[in-house]
Amino acid sequence: MSLLSSTQGTPDRVWSLISALSVSGGALDRATAAEWLNPGFVQNGSVVQEKQDAFLQTLGAATSLGAVTADGKTLVLNPSLDAREFPAFCDWVHDRLVDLDSGEKDAVVLETYAWLALQSLQEGGLSWVHDWTASKFADAADGALPDATDDDGSRRINTSKLSTWRRWLLALGLLVPIPFSAQPHPAAESRAALELRRANLPTGAEIDADRFLDELAVRLPYLDRGRMFTATAKRMGHAPTSAKVSPLLSATLRNLHDEGIIELKLRGDAGQVVRLFEDSSHRLQAFHGVVLTGAFA
């Protein structure tokens, strides 16, 4: 099963399974693991228990991520996984997804996000995410992905997988739920702040804009200049200029700047600058350098 075809394998359920394995020394037989997550209990005289399929899909998601492997009837926790806290698990998942080659089934999660970032450039913003129907969104995203099918034989992204996709992106800090909208809003600030903290970039010193964006593109390959972003653009026949940042990344950088996590610098005499996507309500329209303040969120 792929991550997105395991629709009942939500991030918190996968995390629950991993925690059970972790406290059990890293391995459990499948039946016991299922009982951990679905022990059944009596409430008001009735037994409360979920159908078995929920566990199977949770296991499917965990194995698809490589967090858990099945050795016969024994489930084994990936030893590289930091199972102490949920945020660390999310970082691990992010790293895992970032490292996937395009041909791997779960690469669709971040490749679809890369398409979204690119589409924001074409649409001139992100409002369309809320306005498009699910089928229009899924069709367009699928059209931008490499030709392949999912484990279940269906498209790698379709309307039934969108909810799962959004759940994982929410967990990864790439979407934010907002009122009055069925869709969470694309916002990469949380993830970007985390990755900047993890990146080996100096704080307090000005970094050249291009170097900063290149480093960010390594850690967030689905945004401008990133591997997935570039590949998606190529497939779609677009050639985004490196001198102008997509609306998604522009909003991310401006917000990080406003929140004091980074400081975007623009000197009057700066020669080569990187232009942010136009937002006339903000003072910053371009920058030539970046200072990481060290005040990571």
Binding site: T7, Q8, T10, D12, R13, W15, S16, I18, S19, A20, S22, V23, S24, T32, E35, W36, L37, N38, P39, G40, F41, V42, Q43, N44, G45, V48, E50, A54, F55, T58, F86, G125, L126, S127, H130, S163, R167, L170, V176, P177, I178, P179, F180, S181, H185, A187, E189, S190, P247, A251, N255, D258, E259, E278, D279, S280, S281, H282, R283, A297
Partner: protein, 1090 residues
């Protein structure tokens, strides 16, 4: 040639002359050039049918009819609504020179001024009549006020008037005379001075204000009467003072929430709370004229006599008297006497000699407030009543019928613009030419202006008159912005347009060529401050693009009124010109403002503006269409009623709401006001909004479980900073940009359904930012409420709950500590069934723990379930179990037999379950092993005791041997220890079924475990507790107890036998005694084993 104006086409002095035109003489040109037909008013009165039409000509025709002998026509309208203008127009156009027509203008608003005008305008032969009107006192303002107050106090005496006034009994009951006449009241109460000042014209700023005592005067009186108590006044006067003081608190609260005195007096829920104050104000007003006439030196009788003499003289001459009084409030003090004169119809009052008087046609301007207080007797004698506007609901101010139509509003402004451009002198010439040729047009400078094509194209024109420097939309927006409720008056009147719109914008013509237009004068009090508070996007765009505060505020004014303050998009006009926020590029150029729009149009053209007409109803709480769009069908609603009245004065009244706005528009205005001034109206509503936003956060994103989130984040706890006392247990956000932006997005996305894509983008981005920042705030709040542990991480309640419930389950024998984790989870989450560990036979600490947790375990379990459920998405089912926290907690408890630490905090969390949890865990810290040790010691002790008593026999065998011995002794000595025997028998009977159930064997097995190394109890806590929980504690205790009773009984019986033997000596043979003695001894010794 530049086809746009680059400077003003008028002069400042003409603005002053033409807009502030009060006097008619010498200015008829201005008056006629700027006259806008007054139409659409309502006509009532006993002779309403005589006016055939709803325009000024119909009124003139009816009133001036040669056959008319009497008319008392009242023109009712708010101050500035055009009453005076209509009356002047009637004067200018009155067709019969033979009539003696007296136009008495408002002038300085004083009674003295009014009388002076009358004196000046009457034919010279009548002037001496004024000598009998009275003599003004030579006193200072203070002296006159004191006289006024003294007169009032005297007039409030129940025996003052003959015949008495209608409120004589009220005065008798409350004795207000002593209160008003009190020395301290005289010194401190400002009410009489205020009335006197109004009657004297209030320095020409009276503006038709009625010189009547109102509730604010009574509030002031209440504040001045503290010295009344204990000063020797009658008890009922003291009670009156007390009552007024209490009611003054209510009045103050309403006043502070923006209510006018009149609104308080008329709103049912408000007036019910200030009944005595209203009655006192009415009593004072009822006596005002009598009290003031002497002070002002005017005799009411003298005034009546004057008019009688004038009318008699005119009757002799065959003339009619036409009295045109612009404003009756100028006559307050003698107004009742004056109205007596005006209603006197010479035709119908012949019996008392009135027939000798000339016909009197009077037209009087009154405000609705004055009309409301006009005595019914007078109202009934109004022949023609012209209502220039209408109020939508009781308590509302009236609108102006003439201004209901956009075209008429624009025409009104255009006439003044044309007049200002042509100038007062040229208009005077025009007036003279018009006397010759009544059809000569008012001159229009636009006709010869070289800028006309461009100017009219960009700024617009009305009937050929350019609207520069306004546009039609700008005028409409400014009109719409006029304050409809400013201390009881409305600015949405012709006078409001002149004073608040045209005047401020035209009075500094040089500002245009100097690049200073629109000036700060536009930000006047008459235009609601809300009207110039821009959307956040627009505001931020100005901040980002315009340098210098002066230029920024000029830009803000321009965009607020010439543009659409809700839009920050560049659009392409039909003319091909770019517009930003609806303001054409060339207006930026003309005003010398920097262009801050894009270089290309990106959005559709903005719809034209029509000021919302303040009439029909639109429900609140419903998002209307974009405010930029013309509204069709029913007009917006007026929110008339104040909020529910405070009960007992504890709950302050809600702020008087501005009518005609939807709930969301109101919220948006409040938000911008908050950002602008730091003052937040209706904080309760905003706290609710904040709460709803916080509720949208997924608690797991900030490391909270759903239960803790639900209990920490309650409506009572979520506050905007400054709306509640700063406390640790409040979730609080400050007035920061992201908060304002997020709130505005929250309102705008519901309110504005037609916003541009960029606006949507802006708002959604801001909402997303707010949600992220709220997450961080929530996380910090949770840290504070739950406390941080020594490792700097927030305390998480779930592990403690899991451990506590689990340990309880272990002690109850529900599950063994050695059972697999899923079984532990089941025990934690399942409802409790009967305990299997014989809790009542356990050691004290064991029982204490169970007793301590007994009242709470169900609530703890419910909380735990809520914390651990992992449904799919927002599903309502329980779903799988989130064991991410519980798994570790179970393992740690099993391994350490210690509860996880809880924070040591002096303050409560404020969630009862969590506070109790923390308390129980803290109490039992380190004691879990101790519970086991004590229990182990108790079991072992009981086992040892039983072993000792059994003396090597089995339990069953021992107890039956005892019983046999007891029976044997009892047979011979039935009186030996009878109570103990009964106790023994009963205990043994209870134990017999246990034998059947094999209980004795289980207890013997337990005893063996202590004796045998191979089957000894486990050493480690977890298996040991499991072993202990399964131990037959109750059976052990019962058998031990029975064995002990048997021990005690046989000891007693042996003693009895010995006594028997001792007593038998000398009464039986020695052999017999020895035989019985042996028998008993054997029986008992068989029990004791020796």
């Amino acid at each position: 040639m530049n086809d746009m104006p680059n400077k003003a086409c008028w002069r400042a002095e003409d603005v002053s002359t033409i807009l502030n035109n009060e006097a008619l003489e010498g200015h008829e040109g201005v008056f006629l050039a700027t006259h806008t037909p007054i139409i659409g008013f309502d006509v009532l009165g006993s002779h309403a049918g005589e006016i055939e039409g709803r325009d000024e000509h119909a009124v003139l025709s009816a009133l001036s009819d040669p056959g008319r002998r009497h008319a008392f026509c009242v023109v009712q309208g708010e101050p500035g609504s055009g009453k005076s203008h209509l009356i002047r127009w009637l004067s200018v156009n009155w067709p019969w020179p033979n009539d003696v027509k007296l136009l008495l203008q408002r002038a300085d608003g004083s009674l003295e001024g009014a009388l002076r005008q009358l004196q000046d305008r009457l034919p010279p032969e009548f002037k001496e009549l004024f000598d009998n009107l009275g003599q003004r006192h030579r006193a200072t303002v203070r002296g006159r006020a004191n006289n006024f107050l003294t007169n009032l106090a005297n007039a409030l005496d129940p025996d003052h008037f003959d015949p008495p006034l209608e409120d004589v009994e009220w005065c008798r009951t409350h004795n207000p005379t002593d209160l008003i006449a009190h020395r301290e009241v005289r010194q401190k109460w400002n009410g009489p001075s205020r009335i006197l000042r109004l009657l004297e014209g209030a320095n020409q700023e009276r503006n038709s204000a009625s010189a009547s005592f109102d509730l604010f005067d009574i509030e002031d009186l209440a504040n001045a009467c503290h010295g009344v108590y204990g000063s020797g006044v009658l008890p009922r006067t003291e009670m009156l003072a007390q009552r007024l003081t209490k009611e003054a608190q209510v009045i103050r609260e309403y006043r502070q929430n923006g209510w006018s005195a009149e609104e308080i007096e008329t709103a049912p829920e408000a007036k019910a709370q200030v009944r005595v104050s209203i009655e006192l104000a009415a009593a004072l007003n009822r006596r005002r004229n009598d009290a003031i006439q002497n002070v002002l030196g005017v005799s009411a009788e003298g005034l009546k006599r004057l008019f009688r003499q004038v009318r008699e003289e005119l009757a002799l001459r065959g003339q009619r008297l036409v009295l045109l009084l612009e404003d009756i409030t100028s006559w307050e003090g003698v107004d009742d006497s004056l109205i007596d004169v005006l209603v006197t119809n010479a035709e119908t009052r012949g019996s008392d000699g009135d027939r000798d008087m000339c016909p009197l046609i009077s037209v009087v301007g009154v405000t609705p407030a004055y009309y409301q207080k006009l005595h019914g007797n007078y109202r009934g004698r109004i022949t023609h009543e012209l209502r220039l506007g209408a109020a939508q609901h009781d308590g509302d101010l009236q609108d102006v019928a003439t201004l209901r139509d956009r075209t008429l509003r624009l025409s009104f402004a255009a006439r003044y613009l044309a007049a200002v451009r042509i100038g007062a002198a040229a208009l005077k010439d025009w007036r003279e030419r018009r006397r010759e040729d009544p059809y000569v047009e008012v001159p229009n400078r636009c006709e010869t202006c070289s800028h006309r094509p461009g100017c009219h194209a960009v700024f617009g024109a009305q009937s050929g008159v350019g609207l520069f420097p306004f546009t039609a939309d700008a005028l409409e927006r400014m009109f719409s912005a006029l304050n409809e409720r400013d201390n009881g008056m409305t600015w949405k009147t012709p006078r409001g347009i002149l004073q608040a719109i045209l005047g401020p914008n035209l009075s500094q013509p040089l500002a245009i060529e100097k690049g200073a237009f629109p000036t700060l004068l536009l930000e006047n009090q008459a235009l609601s401050a809300d009207s110039r508070r821009l959307s956040r996007r627009l505001s931020q765009q100005i901040d980002a693009a315009v340098e210098g505060e002066n230029e920024r505020s000029r830009m803000r004014r321009t965009l607020a009124y010439w543009g659409d303050k809700e839009r920050a998009d560049t659009t392409l006009l039909e003319s091909g010109e770019l517009a930003f926020s609806g303001v054409p590029h060339r207006i930026f150029d003309t005003f010398q403002l920097p262009w801050i729009g894009d270089s290309v149009g990106t959005s559709p053209t903005v719809a034209p503006i029509v000021a919302p007409d303040p009439q029909p109803a639109e429900p609140i709480n419903e998002a209307p269409a974009s405010p930029a769009k013309p509204k069709e069908g029913p007009r917006p609603s007026t929110i008339t009623g104040p909020a529910p009245a405070p009960k007992g004065g504890n709950v302050p009244p809600s702020r008087r709401r501005t009518p005609t706005k939807s709930e969301l528009e109101r919220l948006r205005d409040q938000l911008r006001k908050w950002a602008d001034t730091g003052e937040l109206d209706e904080p309760t509503e905003w706290n609710k909004t904040l709460y709803s936003l916080v509720q949208a956060i997924d608690p797991r994103r900030v490391g909270l479980d759903p239960f803790t989130f639900r209990r920490l984040v309650t409506t009572e706890r979520v506050k905007i900073e400054g709306t509640a006392p700063g406390q640790r247990n409040y979730f609080s956000v400050k007035l920061e940009s992201w908060v304002i932006n997020g709130f505005e997005a929250h309102v705008a996305l519901r309110l504005d359904k037609d916003m541009s894509v960029r606006d949507q983008e802006f708002h959604r981005q801001n909402l997303a930012t707010m949600m992220r920042r709220l997450e961080r705030t929530l996380s910090e709040y949770a840290d504070k409420r739950l406390s941080l542990m020594p490792d700097g991480k927030r305390w998480t309640p779930l592990p403690s709950l899991v451990q506590l419930l689990l340990f309880r389950a272990w002690l109850r024998g529900t599950v063994s500590p050695d059972a697999p984790p899923p079984a532990q989870l089941r025990a934690i989450l399942s409802d409790e069934s009967e305990a299997t560990s014989d809790p009542l036979s356990r050691s004290t600490p064991w029982q204490e723990f169970l007793n301590k947790t007994h009242p709470w375990h169900e609530r703890f379990r419910d909380a735990t379930r809520e914390m651990m459920r992992a449904p799919q998405g927002d599903g309502q089912g329980f779903g799988l179990l989130d064991v991410s926290v519980a798994a570790g907690a179970i393992t740690r408890l099993r391994n350490t037999f210690k509860f996880d630490s809880v924070p040591k905090s002096d303050s409560d969390i404020g969630v009862s379950e969590l506070d109790r949890l923390r308390e129980i865990v803290a109490d039992t810290e380190g004691s879990l092993s101790r519970i086991i040790q004590i229990e182990m010691a108790q079991i072992r002790g009981r086992s040892d005791a039983l072993v000792t008593n059994l003396r090597g026999h089995s339990i069953r065998s021992h107890l039956y041997r005892v019983d046999q011995a007891v029976d044997g002794v009892f047979h011979h000595l039935p009186n030996a220890a009878p109570d103990l025997v009964r106790q023994w028998k009963a205990q043994l009977d209870r134990l017999k079924p246990r034998f059947e159930a094999g209980a004795d064997a289980r207890v013997e097995e337990l005893m063996m475990a202590f004796a045998d190394e191979d089957s000894a109890p486990p050493k480690r806590n977890a298996p040991l507790l499991g072993w202990l929980a399964e131990a037959p504690a109750r059976d052990l205790n019962d058998f031990r107890s029975a064995a002990q009773v048997g021990e005690d009984l046989t000891t007693n019986l042996l003693e009895a036998v010995r006594d028997c033997v001792r007593e038998g000596r000398g009464t039986a043979s020695l052999d017999d005694i020895k035989s019985v003695g042996h028998l008993f001894r054997n029986a008992v010794q068989s029990v004791h084993g020796n």
